[in-house]
């Protein structure tokens, strides 16, 4: 299951929020060696986490966060449009039907099958979230391996400019726009196996708060 955490729910789900920032630190700072400006050595958090963003967290049966991503309406401040675009020399499209996806990561300690399952859960939830908000396109900066997953699922991917390697990084990162095939509006979900219902929204299911709210961090 993937739980949607809005800005106003961050306190109520402080345990999951704490875990997601720890997971991001393990992946982006410790593993990928990203040079990120802020942090306490345990959590990865930036100024865009306090903006108008939504967090998706995939949790296992024990309430442990296994994957996460950050989704931000493109008209709100976001890391791709307001920071990375300048560094990469590109301009991202912005509009009411466009959302930015960033900080997507999966627990690196999972085995390959578990990673694939967690990623699938996250992707299905993301597709459902986009459909709910009427977002037709996603923007972001991603590695090739992430973009290939999108292409494999039938999305059209446009590259906005030359890729760059961030300091300390081994892989090129691409500024990209992804959209579903307008002729097959349900194509991506069909590819993903139509496992709809991955997105769990506390506003629709208050029991999520009882099960996962304010839980001690794993």
């Amino acid at each position: 299951m993937a739980i949607l955490i809005r800005r106003r729910q961050r306190e109520a789900f402080s345990g999951l929020v704490d875990q997601l920032h720890k997971l991001r630190h393990r992946v982006f700072v410790e593993r990928l060696k990203w040079s990120l400006p802020r942090g306490d050595g345990v959590h990865e958090i930036d100024q865009f986490d306090s903006c108008d963003c939504l967090h998706l967290v995939v949790v296992d049966a024990f309430g442990r966060v296994r994957a996460t991503s950050r989704v931000t309406p493109s008209l709100s401040p976001n890391v791709s449009c307001d920071l990375l675009a300048g560094e990469m020399g590109v301009t991202f499209p912005r509009g009411p039907d466009i959302a930015e996806v960033s900080r997507l990561c999966v627990d690196p300690d999972l085995d390959e099958g578990e990673r694939a399952d967690a990623l699938l859960e996250l992707r299905v939830a993301q597709v459902e979230l986009f459909a709910r908000h009427g977002w037709k396109r996603s923007i972001g900066v991603a590695y090739e391996r992430t973009l290939q997953v999108w292409i494999r699922s039938g999305m059209t991917v446009e590259i906005l400019g030359p890729p760059i390697k961030f300091p300390g990084d081994r892989h090129f990162a691409y500024a990209a726009v992804a959209s579903e095939d307008p002729n097959r509006p349900d194509g991506v979900m069909a590819f993903l196996g139509a496992r709809s219902g991955a997105l769990q929204d506390p506003e629709q299911d208050p029991s999520l708060l009882a099960r996962f709210g304010r839980r001690a961090t794993a």
């Binding site: 290939q148 030359p162 590819f191």
Partner: protein, 237 residues
């Protein structure tokens, strides 16, 4: 526009191509400025052994393909061996450490225009391992250009596999549990006698099942059946 920008600008067109042939046409436009003249794309159904490879699209000459198969060159081709390990490499980097028959094969390849080559290998979690071999003369690329060519080649594979999914899923018939078991063993590289032993069947019964598997999947041979079985999701990679 330099060749990197040109290729990346074509990614949108490639990833929205409605057919395999249109995707391939965009791919050719993207890689032509990099000096690539010949290419062969495939999926590896058995990454451990690397032997069961089904080509998806290729413009290699049939003469070379026949020569290659006739010599069973995949057993000593340095490119095949390197593809088991690497993600992207130039063929010229393999030659110094290749066995004599491998060096001879590379010399023969040069004579038909494959002066140098670059191979891209991708194995995403839960997905088929794919290879794209590209050859030409004077493949002299910067790191950025290698990344770009790799991206374009992988995007072609991702798009083609998606299109194959779309086209094949309704077209093939569902295998029975026993047929899927046999096909899974074949995908793992097991010979029919080993499959028969593993499933407590006679060798003749396994042969009988193969006829049914090939008919249901519309497959011409064993490797094709494995590839279609994988693409149609009836056996796991």
């Amino acid at each position: 526009m330099d060749r990197t920008a040109h290729a990346l600008a074509l990614i949108g067109e490639l990833t929205s191509a409605p057919t395999v042939s249109k995707a391939v046409a965009v791919f050719e436009r993207a890689i032509e400025p990099f000096g690539v003249r010949l290419y062969r794309t495939g999926v590896v159904a058995n990454p451990q052994r690397g032997l069961i490879e089904a080509a998806i699209v290729s413009n290699w000459s049939e003469e070379w393909a026949q020569l290659y198969r006739g010599r069973r060159a995949f057993t000593f081709d340095p490119v095949v061996a390197a593809a088991r390990r690497g993600e992207g490499f130039f063929w010229r980097d393999l030659e110094p450490s290749a066995r004599p028959e491998g060096r001879e094969l590379m010399r023969d390849a040069r004579e038909i225009g494959m002066v140098d080559g670059f191979t891209v290998v991708r194995a995403p979690p839960g997905e088929l391992k794919t290879t794209v071999n590209m050859a030409g003369d004077g493949l002299d690329w910067s790191e950025l250009e290698q990344g770009t060519v790799s991206f374009v080649a992988s995007a072609l594979m991702s798009r083609m596999l998606h299109l194959r999914d779309v086209q094949l899923k309704p077209a093939v018939q569902a295998l029975s549990l026993r047929e899927a078991e046999i096909l899974s063993h074949a995908a793992a590289g097991h010979a029919d006698r080993a499959i028969a032993q593993a499933l407590s069947l006679s060798y003749e019964t396994v042969h009988f099942y193969w006829k049914s598997i090939r008919r249901k999947l519309g497959a011409a041979d064993r490797a094709n059946a494995v590839a279609v079985g994988l693409w149609s999701g009836q056996i796991d990679p």
